[in-house]
C-alpha cells in the first residue's frame, strides 16, 4: 500500500508554479491521465447513482434463488443468499469510494495540518510529531489495521479509523517536507513581515503551494486505500454486512471459485479496473504536475 510513498515523496518536493491552462494542456496530452480519468469518472458516476441504477435491491435475500449462474434476470447471477451480484457490485463501488474518500478526507486534513504545524513550529512540536510518525512507520500497516479492527470490532467506521491511522503519517511527512522547504521562501517571510497571522499564512501561502503534489499523492492514495479496504474485507475485518464490498465479495466468492467463478471474478475485475483507473490517473497527474517529469 505504501510502496508508492517513496516515489511520491522524492518526486514532488518542490512546489510547482504554473497556471491552470498550462496544466490542462498537459493533462489532455497525457494518455495515462486521460484513460485514468475516464475510468475514475465512470466508477464515480456509478457510485453516485448506485441507489438508482441497481437492477435489484443489493441486500434482498432470496433463499430460493441462490447460486444462480449469470444470465437472464440476474445479469451476473446471484450469490449464496440469492442476492443480485450486479447490484452488489454497483453498491460495492459506492462503499469502496465512500471509505476511500472518507479516509482521504481525514488523513489529508489531519496529515496536512499536522505536517504543516510540525514544519512551521519545528522544535519540540516537530520532534514529538515526527517520532510518532516514525513509530507508526515502524509497524507494517496491516498489523496496525488488524489491531485496530480487533480493538474496535469490524465495521465501516473501524476500517476508516484503521486506514486513517495508517495513512496520516505519510501525508504528514510529505506535507512537512514540502512546508519545510517552503517556509524558507521569501514570500512566506514577506507574509510574516507584514503581520499576517500564522493561520492565514498556512491557509494562503503554504497550503496553496503544496496542493498539487498532495493531489497527486491523493489520487494514488485512493487506489491504495480501496485495495487496503478490500484486503481488510478479505481478511474478515472490513466493512460488514449488509453493505456489499468488493473485497468481501471476493472473499465470499473464493471458496466457490470452481462452482461459481462469477462471484469472485466479477468483483476482482471491478476492483482491478478501478485500481488501474486510479493508478493511471495518479501517474498521469504526477507527470502533469511534477516539474521534474515534464516533457516526458
Amino acid at each position: 500500500m505504501t510502496l508508492e510513498t517513496a516515489k511520491a515523496d522524492t518526486l514532488n518536493a518542490p512546489a510547482p508554479r504554473r497556471g491552470l491552462s498550462d496544466f490542462q494542456i498537459r493533462f489532455l496530452r497525457s494518455r495515462n491521465a486521460m484513460i485514468g480519468s475516464i475510468i475514475v469518472t465512470l466508477v464515480t458516476i456509478v457510485a453516485l447513482l448506485a441507489p438508482w441504477i441497481t437492477p435489484h435491491d443489493p441486500t434482498k435475500v432470496s433463499i430460493m434463488a441462490t447460486w444462480l449462474p449469470p444470465g437472464g434476470e440476474h445479469l451476473l447471477g446471484t450469490d449464496a443468499l440469492g442476492r443480485d451480484v450486479l447490484s452488489r457490485l454497483i453498491m460495492g463501488a459506492r462503499v469502496s469510494l465512500t471509505v476511500a474518500l472518507s479516509v482521504l478526507a481525514i488523513t489529508m486534513t489531519f496529515g496536512t495540518l499536522l505536517g504543516m504545524v510540525a514544519a512551521w513550529y519545528r522544535g519540540h512540536v516537530d520532534n514529538v510529531l515526527m517520532r510518532f510518525v516514525d513509530i507508526i512507520f515502524a509497524f507494517p500497516e496491516l498489523i496496525i489495521a488488524i489491531i485496530v479492527a480487533a480493538a474496535m470490532g469490524p465495521g465501516t467506521f473501524t476500517v476508516i479509523v484503521a486506514l486513517a491511522l495508517v495513512w496520516w503519517p505519510g501525508i504528514a511527512r510529505m506535507a512537512r517536507a514540502l512546508v519545510l522547504s517552503l517556509r524558507e521562501e521569501p514570500f512566506v517571510e514577506a507574509g510574516i513581515a507584514c503581520g499576517t497571522p500564522t493561520w492565514r499564512i498556512m491557509w494562503r501561502h503554504l497550503l496553496p503551494n503544496i496542493v498539487s503534489p498532495m493531489i497527486v499523492r491523493a489520487s494514488l492514495g485512493v487506489g491504495m486505500i480501496i485495495m487496503a479496504e478490500a484486503t481488510m474485507s478479505f481478511l474478515g475485518i472490513g466493512v460488514q454486512e449488509p453493505y456489499p464490498t468488493w473485497g468481501g465479495m471476493i472473499r465470499d466468492g473464493l471458496p466457490n471459485l470452481r462452482t461459481d467463478p462469477h462471484l469472485a471474478l466479477s468483483a476482482s475485475v471491478a476492483l482491478g479496473i478501478t485500481m488501474i483507473g486510479f493508478n493511471l490517473l495518479g501517474d498521469g497527474l504526477r507527470d502533469v504536475l511534477d516539474p521534474k517529469s515534464r516533457g516526458r
Binding site: R17, G19, F187, V188, E189, A190, G191, A193, C194, G195
Partner: protein
Amino acid sequence: MTAPLLKLENISKRFRVGNKELAAVSDVSLDVAAGETLGIVGESGCGKSTLGRMILRLTDPSDGAIVFDGRDITRLSKRAMRPLRRDIQIVFQDPYASLNPRMKVGEIVAEPLVNIGMKRAEIAARVAEVLKVVGLPAESADRYPHAFSGGQRQRIGIARALAVKPRLIVCDEAVSALDVSVQAQVLTLLRDIQRETGVTFVFISHNLGVVRFLCHRIAVLYLGRVVEIGTEAQLFETPQHPYTQALLSAIPEAGAGRRGRIPVPSGEIPNPINRRRVARFTCAVRVFRTNAAAKYPRLPQIRTDRPWRATFPGRMRKARIEHRKTKE
C-alpha cells in the same frame, strides 16, 4: 536632533551549527533617523541580511535590543509584534521567490492591508493607488505574478511594502537580482517614494554603487560587525577602514578615485564559523586574535558623527603586505 526612528543597541546573532557557533552579527549598534536612508553594505555572508531580518523580527537577536520609535521591540511576542508590522515593512531580494505564485497581485498587495483590518472597499482603492505609485497598471491586480517581469515583480513587492504606509522599509538587496537598467528604474522609484512619503529606508546591499545612489548614511559590515559608518560622502571620499577601502576598490568608478588602486581581496570570505581557517584576507582577524582584551573593541565616538572600528595600523600594514605576497 530628534530621537532616531530605529535604534539597534549592541545587537548580536549567533547560530549553532553542530557543535560550533556561527556569529552572524556581532555587537552592532546603529541609529536610523526618520526620513533617512541608511545603507548597509558588505559582502554576502557578512550578516547584513540577518541584521535586516532582525529589524523585522523575522529572526530573534541573541543579544542586544531593537528600539523602534522609542519602544523596545526586541522581546515582543509574535502577537504583540503584529500591530507594529504596519510601521515596518520589507522588500526582498528575489522578485520571483518573494511573491506567492498562487496569489493574484491584488491579493499580494492587499495582504498587509487585510492584516491591519482594513475594509474590503478601502483595500481595493488602496491597492489601485499603490500600484499606480509603483508604476503598474491597475489591471495588474487580477493577474498572477508569473505574468510579470523581474522589475515589475519588484515593483509589486514595493507596492506591498508601501500599501500600509509604513514608517520604515527594510530593502534587503532589493535590486540586486535585476538587470542594471531595471535597477536604476527601481532605485529612482524608491527615491521618489521617499521624497513623497518621507518613509525611512534601511537599504541592504552588497553593491556600493547602488547604496551610494540612494543612501544618506552607510554602514559597512564585515564579518558581522560594523567596521565603519559615515555619510555617503565621508565614506566614499575618505574611507577609514581597510575593508571599506577594499570594497570601494571593487567599484570601478569609486576605486579609480583619488586613492588609486587598493588591493582587492579575492577568494572566499573568511568563514565566520571557524576563524582559524581564515587564509587570505587576514587583517581584521589578526587583530582579534592578537589582542584578546580588545577582542571586540567598541566603536570610538568620534565627533564627526563618523565612527570607525579601532584597528592597529602597524599590524594592518603588515597584513596588507602579507596579502600582496600571497597574491603574487
